[in-house]
Amino acid sequence: MNDTAQIYDQGEYNFAYLDEQTKRMIRRAILKGIAIPGYQVPFASREMPMPYGWGTGGVQVTAAILGQDDCLKMIDQGSDDTTNAVSLRGFFEKTAGIRTTYETSEATVIQTRHRIPEKPLTEDQVLVFQVPIPEPLRFLEPRETETRKMHALEDYGLMHVKLYEDIAKNGHIATTYAYPVKVNDRYVMDPSPTPKFDNPKIDRMAALQLYGAGREKRIYAIPPYTKVKSLDFEDYPFEVQTFDKPCGLCGAENVYLDEVILDDKGGRMFVCSDSDHCEERRADGHLGPMAASPEAGQFGGQNAQETAR
């Protein structure tokens, strides 16, 4: 009998790991977060069986909302099959026994780290973000008492000074991820370290967005169809990243691309960061400039032996 079997012998976890009192506490924080869009609600974050930085905040939010009939998608940097996504998906498969999926449109709850799926989300979906530092003003003002007062008085001048200094130094706003937004014309909020490419998707999104920061013990939310404006200046309007080439595998344009290093001679390719979106497009017959032709068969193909030598 191995360790896991022994633990199972002692009885199962409560549904979705957390105890019911913890869920109630998190659920109350979620309701407050929805009622005050963009405001960071303090909550009694629990220690989770994973280290801080692995999405303990997102996991607690997901565990509090998840039901037996939900279908969960778990993504890390847009991908369904990277370490963080795989282990957290396994966590909920084990503790909640629910259905999981890779397909964006099939999921009812999507927990994400640092990306928003390319496919527009629907009203029936909930997007849960893992957040490392929820306070957008933290790197400008380290004292919680002060940042709390700044939010209370809607005093966000410091954030504009920071963006202005970006322009003065670099000629443009150099913030590329965790780009600050103003929610419902009131609270300045950190949309978690998603690339600013995704900021326009947050604005008036049909799905409910919940943000959980485990180590920092904060939950915040953006209800559906809420106005979310990326901070900018009249003469330096907000812009998203652009890519000069399409995805190497599926040929998609106007999507966020990851750089993949191919060799030590400077070879590289750019592919969709949203792996489900890329696979779906390839299944539909879209081919990028670097995709293997369908006739080549399996990776390695006939030359497998040659490669091995």
């Binding site: 549904f15 109350r28 309701l31 009203e123 419902n184 559906p224 169809y225």
Partner: protein
Amino acid sequence: MTPTNTSLAETTQTGAAPLAAGFADPVHDAQGCFRAVMNAMARPATRQLIPAGGLKPPAPLTPVAAAIALTLIDYDTPVWLDKPLMSSEAVKQFLRFHTGAPIVSEPVEAAFALVSAPESMIPLASFNQGSLEYPDRSTTVILLGQTFSAGPAVMLEGPGIKDTALLTTGPVPPVFWDQVIANNRQFPRGIDLIFAGASEAAALPRSTRITPQEA
């Protein structure tokens, strides 16, 4: 004397009705109820079906309100009850046993308030409005016995609403919507409202802007 006889004798002595049961399946019933309340709060003016899980709470507590209470309330959240609820020993016993929540007599101390006679409820300003630093510390007020066809319609705008939406609910006091408008003006401070009907619930967070419609 056997234990059974003892309990029988005690029941006869106090004349109390036996305690009504809580959720049949505490984990999943509470989850289903929470998701409905969450959707109601995220989409003001929509009506969400509340799975009351076969609850038969003592009157004037209603099954939907009892389900919301068992889902959200526990020993961390002081509860305020209006007069008809407060004067029912069975209701207090039900809430104390199933939630462990302290029942307070000052509305400003409450995290949740249950109002069973909304037509004669106290002003919304009597509840805890939260502070500018901690707007989340305000009271959530749950109105019982609502029917979503009675009363004048109000037009809603704001987070969670695509363009505009109409909400009709009653009974509420005549000055109620003026109070709700004032409540929204002090955003981010303010209370959040949950309207509990016979089988459904709707919610009105403080962020929603309200325009009364001419009848």
